[in-house]
């Protein structure tokens, strides 16, 4: 047991790799076997992260379960992992969602083995970002996660649809979307890469806790430019990389394409966890490494956040494609995360800032649950109707009442109905940022109105209105496997909505330390 506790993070991080290797050894034709092995083994990191959750000392600040091993000494980078309340929450979210997405993927029939291996590689990349306490290692995982996601969209994405790329040349949508996703994100991380290299070259370390001290005390730079200019440039390099991932308006255009074209499980992970990587980058790196710049530019960040909220909601409202509607809703909801972070950056150390940042982290977790749930439900209906066009649905509630109930429940959580999780976190963000950015917060709340509008539009178009008689006899109710996927998400949504303290306590300690 002590061995497990001492190496807990390493076990959680590398277990997906072991699973992937194991699956590689299984015969490719045995699809059922591969699915079940993947499903059962994907639970083990979740169990370990529960162990982590209950052994985590909530009263203590700072990183816990840390481990440091030599990795790349000449450039002073090491394998250094550790968790605080923020990353712990994200690890729990990731390990929880993976088994559910694997279960969702039971309907994949083409190259199951490769698919599952890619999924575990993806999990490895995401967990690595959350666990890293070394800037280089952070970047390693940050980039690595792109590769499996690219192939998941590129190979298992939706099979219909074409996009015109250049003067009449058309490519399948999923190729277009995956390429855009990859190049957009890689180009975004280029600035991050350069800034990381520069920081490493100047300070001579990549260790994140060490950098918090050294980088902030840098006075002299080996360039003929003032320290503040260089820091401001590096700050924007970080911000743009993370803003693309979140995504913040106007860097969001890759998202609707990628989310819409990805296979259901891919969309769940993309919205559920991958977007959180960007927000996590803001909290873990940007705020502590650039306190002055964050403070100075927080107003801009808040403005972009508000625009994300409003435009995301308006764009979602305008969609005819159910999956695209949900995709734009991510832009809308992640805007609140960024608003909370911006507010916290602007009013460092105040009570309001702490509340706003707490709200932002909780919103990350909540959006992970509700976005994954929504994409899953879109996938369920798509699998039966083979259309995502809202106009072709309508009045389905009598045919599939259980599904309808679940959809309404999840949509309400997404909308922020009191009693469900979304309300708690959005309220905290708004409460925290109101005294700091009053006008922006007020605008964001108007944005919430549109949130309500597009969510109700989605429900109305699918479930209510005149029944499209075409579907009578074709539509089957949600099955046991699917119910098993959505049930844990619903339980969590309700439990956070009713009694948020269990998770906020864990987050709060870490948030206080960020400043």
């Amino acid at each position: 047991m002590t061995f497990i506790l001492e190496n807990l993070l390493t076990i959680i991080l590398f277990f997906p790799i072991l699973t992937a290797l194991l699956i590689c050894l299984l015969p490719g034709q045995q699809k059922g076997l591969i699915r079940w092995v993947a499903f059962i083994f994907s639970f083990i990191p979740f169990l370990f992260s529960l162990v982590l959750w209950f052994n985590f000392d909530k009263t203590q600040t700072g990183f816990q379960f840390t481990q440091q091993v030599v990795w790349y000494p000449p450039i002073h980078s090491s394998y250094h992992v550790g968790v605080d309340g923020i990353s712990l929450t994200m690890v729990l979210l990731t390990t929880l969602l993976i088994p559910l997405t694997i279960l969702t993927s039971f309907n994949i029939k083409d190259r199951v083995k490769t698919y599952m291996v890619l999924f575990f590689l993806l999990q490895f990349g995401m967990l690595g970002v959350f666990l890293s306490l070394d800037l280089l290692l952070f970047f390693v995982f940050w980039e690595f996660g792109l590769v499996p996601m690219y192939f998941l969209i590129n190979q298992w994405g939706s099979e219909t649809g074409e996009r015109e790329v250049w003067k009449g040349i058309k490519v399948p949508s999923r190729i277009y979307a995956s390429f855009k996703f990859m190049i957009y994100t890689m180009a975004g991380s280029l600035g991050l890469l350069l800034a990381i290299q520069m920081i490493g070259a100047i300070t001579g370390t990549f260790d994140i806790p060490e950098l918090f001290i050294r980088w902030n005390s840098v006075q002299e730079l080996p360039f003929n430019i003032s320290t503040s200019t260089v820091k401001a440039l590096a700050f924007w390099a970080f911000v743009i990389a993370f803003a693309i991932k979140v995504p913040v308006w106007p860097f969001h255009t890759w998202l609707p394409d990628a989310h819409t074209e990805a296979p259901t499980a891919g969309s769940m992970i993309l919205a559920g966890v991958l977007l959180k990587l960007g927000a996590y980058g803001f909290i873990r790196l940007v705020l502590p490494l650039y306190p002055e710049q964050s403070n100075a530019y927080a107003g801009w960040l808040a403005l972009f956040a508000v625009l994300s909220i409003i435009f995301g909601a308006l764009a979602a409202f305008g969609q005819k494609d159910f999956k695209r509607l949900v995709a734009y809703s991510s832009v809308n909801h992640m805007g609140f995360v960024v608003l909370g972070i911006a507010a916290a950056a602007h009013a460092v150390g105040t009570q309001d800032a702490t509340i706003a940042l707490n709200g932002a982290v909780l919103q990350m977790f909540n959006h992970g649950l509700s976005a994954a749930g929504m994409f899953f439900l879109v996938g369920v209906i798509y699998e039966r109707t083979h259309t995502r066009n809202l106009d072709e649905m309508g009045g389905l509630f009598p045919l599939i009442p259980v599904y309808g109930g679940i959809l309404i429940f999840t949509s309400m959580a997404s909308l922020g109905l009191p009693g469900l999780n979304g309300f708690v976190s959005e309220f905290m963000v708004v409460r925290g940022s109101w005294p700091i950015f009053t006008v922006y917060t007020a605008l964001a709340m108007i944005g919430l109105l549109f949130t309500g509008a597009y969510i109700l539009k989605g429900i109305a178009k699918v479930l209510h209105g005149p029944l499209n008689t075409h579907w009578i006899g074709h539509l089957t109710e949600i099955n046991a496997r699917e119910a098993f996927v959505i049930a844990p998400l619903m339980v969590l949504m309700l439990s956070i909505g009713v009694w948020p303290a269990w998770i906020v306590d864990v987050i709060n300690r870490a948030v206080e330390m960020v400043f």
Partner: protein, 490 residues
Amino acid sequence: MQFPVLSLIIFTPIITALLLLLLPENKKTEVRVISLAAATVALLSSIWVYFSYDINQAGYQLIEKYSWLPAMGISYHVGIDGMSAPLILLTGIVMFTGVLISWGVDDRPREFFAFLFILATGVFGVFASLDLFMLFFFYEIAVFPMYLLIAIWGWKVTREYAAMKLTLYLFIGSVIALVGALAMYFTSGLGTFNMLELENAGFSTAFQKLWFPFVFMGFAVLGGIFPFHNWSPDGHVAAPTAVSMFHAGVLMKLGAFAALRVGIMLLPEGAKFWMPYVILLTLVNVVYGAYIASVQTDFKYVIGFSSVSHMGLVVMGFATLNNNGMLGAGVQMFSHGVMTALFFAVVGMIYDQTHTREIAKLGGMRKVMPLVTLAFIIGGLVSMGMPLFSGFIAEFPIFMGLWTSYPWVAIVAAISIVITASYIIRIIGRVFFGELPQEFSDHLHDVSILDKIAIGFMSFILILLGVYPQIMVPLVQTGVNNVLRLLGGA
């Protein structure tokens, strides 16, 4: 007296080559088996050399020295340091996999393998030489069989042109370098070609500034430095698969390595003076090479130009003249060698079956050759500097070195990463995924088990180095320390 393992490595290939030439022409299977056995010996002993190098002791090790022409101060003097040990291993790997992949060569395999092995002797010799004369001696041995290999077994359309172009370029380069080397020999007044002594010859700064460009650029031609790079894509494309692997994988390293060993290490003051200019040339290599690669329509030309881009990074790393940059360059030589050998192996496997390299005509290869697809993807990820693959381990320190010396160069060079990513992704999508063209669907088949072993082995090395850099980095670090010592602890 320790076992002369370096001599074993250097002379195994050439002795095998002579042996092969003595066999009757029709014994093709015997030829292949003997070649494979010799390549295995070379690989195993190069692995042994690599791991027997004592990092704590550093310096030159496994030294062997015999007088060869005492009157002129020439001796057969070999030894390895942290810079050359990985390259010896690289050559062993490329030789072994090259033989595996050339199993199907049916046109005069006896001569083919014999020339390939003479080439290997030259390459091993250059990496191990500690004597300036010997270095040139082996260098020419390496260049000469290349001409025959390309002109006889190459791609019928351009082989004479490419072979001629390559050989002339390289000979001119080496002659210019030789002039510089002779200048060193006569000016030093030591009457020796021993590089360990020449290192301490104390050439005047004016002398170093005058002769550095000759020596450095003469060798850097083989490293593919702009504007003398354009022999290389033509040569790569025209050469048969195993030769392309050798050519891009090892031979270009020969140029970069000799430029380091003779140029930077013997003329450090000259290096300090000229490097700001050299780095501009390499910047063109890196960015322009990547751009040219991205607009090619021939699969093999894409890889050819990508080598120009990546070798630019090697020389760029050397040109920073600081610890991180050189460390990265040392690792990049190994990483790029394995990666590009893997690339050319894959291109060869596809071309052998489809007889076309037009990207637009290919497609859906994953359906017939899944492992080849995986190997190409791994090579592609290395190429675009994806973390957890060896390319990242190599390129990251190079960029850190640039940040210390030339920050704006780092920013401009970084553009190449995105360009590389875009063309690699495009190729993966076009060639390996999508629909298999009708004309191929009936006669394509998966590659042989030998091919699979070769590409699997190379892919494994690329991942191993990416995940666990400790396996190579401390070794290269000792070599870099030695260079830095000569540069005056810069």
